[in-house]
Symmetry: C2
Subunit: 192 residues, 2 copies
């Protein structure tokens, strides 16, 4: 048996999500989170750069899944469809943790600072997708636009998924949202 209880990081994540949910993000101090996890405030800041980051630690793996899926798409796949395939794979991952995702989303959407952090994580994902598209030979600005549009599709689908207006699962909502985007951007003035 080790000197300390195992999985300090996981305990901190769990304690933080619970406390943010119970009494709100601003009303929770880092000292309280650490105490609930049986650790000290200083240790919290060794695992997480700041009080918000504790809710976003999984985003690294999420990004790897996105980029990996995009990279493995057949060469013949169009940029937008490759992005969509990656988003659907990521969506399937979230689908497996629906209840956790709901709880986390409730906490994040009820606080401005947490929403800021979520937005920059999504922007980072968009950058990573754009980079992976460039690796496939897609030129700018097409790469960035496909990536940004993909993230927009994802956001809209994600919100619907959380709201659970119907029984569609997240990958399905992503497909449908992409179709909606195609409908809304279709037509219009062509380039001169």
């Amino acid at each position: 048996m080790g000197r300390w209880e195992p999985d300090a990081r996981g305990r901190l994540e769990e304690a933080a999500l619970a406390l943010y949910g119970e009494r709100g993000f601003e009303q929770t101090t880092v000292a309280e989170i650490a105490q609930r996890a049986g650790l000290t405030e200083r240790t919290f800041f060794r695992y997480f750069a700041d009080k918000r980051e504790v809710l976003f630690w999984g985003s690294g793996a999420f990004q790897e899944l996105l980029v990996g899926t995009l990279t493995r798409a057949p060469d013949s796949t169009s940029p937008m469809d490759a992005v969509a395939a990656a988003l659907e794979a990521a969506g399937a991952l979230l689908e497996e943790r629906r209840e956790y995702s709901r709880q986390r989303h409730t906490v994040i959407s009820s606080n401005g600072e947490l929403r800021e952090r979520e937005l920059i994580k999504l922007a980072t994902l968009a950058s990573a997708l754009a980079g992976a598209l460039r690796e496939r030979g897609v030129a700018e600005p097409a790469a960035s636009l496909a990536a940004e549009a993909g993230i927009a599709v994802f956001r809209v689908a994600y919100v619907s998924w959380i709201a659970e207006t119907d029984g569609r699962d997240l990958p399905r909502l992503i497909r449908d949202s992409l179709d909606d985007l195609r409908a809304v951007t279709a037509g219009g003035a062509a380039a001169d």
Copy 2:
């Protein structure tokens, strides 16, 4: 003559931008900004909610211009084109303050916290655009998707504008980016 020097808010904005540019955002304390403006730290926080917000005070007027332009677009204009018209009008406003925009962008893009704040301002703009589209009778999720796609177009165009790769002005870059988006989303699997 008044009891105090006029335009305290403007002096704080100016001092903050200068100091953030000279020594970086994190290396600048609010007390230093206030001192440079001939005021105290406490007064800074009466004008701005936090240390970042001092760079974003103009975003309210920006949003009003966007929404106003969108609202005034002819009823026959498609959602995406109405969004584009609003973005071009806003782009024309920025075009008039090119040097200031550059300086501000340099400061913001060199710091993560400031980028977060910028992202949430853009997300707020997207929400406002989506709301204005709904007022025009556009249903969800088309309204949100058109707004989000529009903001993506704007971001890509804005980055090009700052980079000044060629002589195109911002409204022009926005039009071109929208055409690029249309090209990249065109085709693909249709809804079943």
